[in-house]
């Protein structure tokens, strides 16, 4: 009976890449259909398919790694490269929005009154809720590091507690931002100020929600004994992502909330 003479993972055939591609197709064309014919059916179908794909694909990866032992050191190294490259691409994504912000704010046009913030915009006080948000995310960076050390030291209860605290801090940030969005004296339609503010902070908020979800999955897995003290890459990937989200916030806070006010 032949078996592999190498440490790499030859993945079994899987339908999820195809369903993911179909989901992408349905969501994009569905978006266009929504804009022209006012029905969200196609897009919603794509969204459902996307959620199913993500759930099943990642579930399969957990099965392959945690239960079937396919994630050998070289395989794990590949996964690390993958996560780092993905986060790098996200950095470039945000770089675009920062470029847009600085383009408009460094040389404000006559239409804005030649000044930044533009005439008529009342900015948020950077030393009120935005400063609290900064503290919340920095604290969550500490708690996620605490969780990591707990996992590495085999401290199960502490790992669960610190990971839970991290997720709660993430929710607190999201709740505070949602309230800020509701109470803000300007909207996304208020010129280039509104556009740059809400697109940059909005995508950041989406990433906070994604990061919190990733951490929540890790919490469930930790509770179900998936992680060992020296093999817990899923958690490390979530922690890297979470730190990335924190760093983006720091840049947003300094640029848009503080310098831009």
């Amino acid at each position: 009976m032949a078996h592999q003479a190498h440490a790499y993972h030859m993945v079994d055939p899987s339908p999820w890449p195809l369903t993911g591609a179909v989901a992408a197709l349905l969501m994009t064309s569905g978006l266009a259909i929504w804009m022209h014919f006012h029905t969200t059916t196609l897009m919603s179908l794509g969204l459902v398919l996307l959620l199913l794909t993500m759930y099943q694909w990642w579930r399969d990866i957990i099965r392959e790694g945690t239960f079937q032992g396919h994630h050998t050191p070289p395989v794990q190294k590949g996964l690390r490269y993958g996560m780092i490259l993905f986060i790098t691409s996200e950095v470039f994504f945000f770089l675009g929005f920062f470029w847009a912000f600085y383009h408009s704010s460094l040389a404000p046009t006559p239409e804005l009154g030649g000044c930044w913030p533009p005439t008529g915009i009342t900015t948020l006080n950077p030393f009120e809720v935005p400063l609290l948000n900064t503290a919340v995310l920095l604290a969550s960076g500490v708690t996620v590091t605490w969780a990591h050390h707990s996992i590495m030291e085999g401290q199960r209860k502490q790992a669960i507690q610190s990971l839970t605290l991290t997720i709660l801090l993430g929710f607190y940030f999201t709740a505070l931002q949602a309230m800020e969005y509701y109470e803000a004296p300007f909207t996304i339609a208020d010129g280039v100020y509104g556009s740059t503010f809400f697109v940059a902070t909005g995508f950041h908020g989406l990433h906070v929600i994604i990061g919190s979800t990733f951490l929540a999955i890790c919490l469930l897995r930790q509770a179900q004994y998936h992680f060992t003290s020296d093999h817990h890459f899923g958690f490390e990937a979530a922690a890297w992502y979470w730190h990335f989200v924190d760093v983006v916030w720091l840049f947003l806070y300094i640029s848009i909330y503080w310098w831009g006010s």
Binding site: T109, P110, E111, L112, G113, G114, C115, P118, T119, G120
Partner: protein, 86 residues
Amino acid sequence: MAEDIKAKLDQYRTAPFDARFPNQNQTRNCWSNYLDYHRCQKALTAKGVDITPCEWYRRVYKSLCPMSWVEKWDGQRDDGSFPGKI
């Protein structure tokens, strides 16, 4: 001093080179002089003084600015929606 200004205005042909705006895009030059004229006018009429010194800025912005911009800004000043600080 006033005589110098009158002499300068008599010799005026078009907006001279302004080293603050050395490049091809002269938007800021037009905007700056439009603002300066109206600020000068506002400040000097508040003091009750002759506004001849302000004439220079008016000549420059009239030379540089597209008429449509001037019309738009004048309209905005009239209905209180002009975004610049005067």
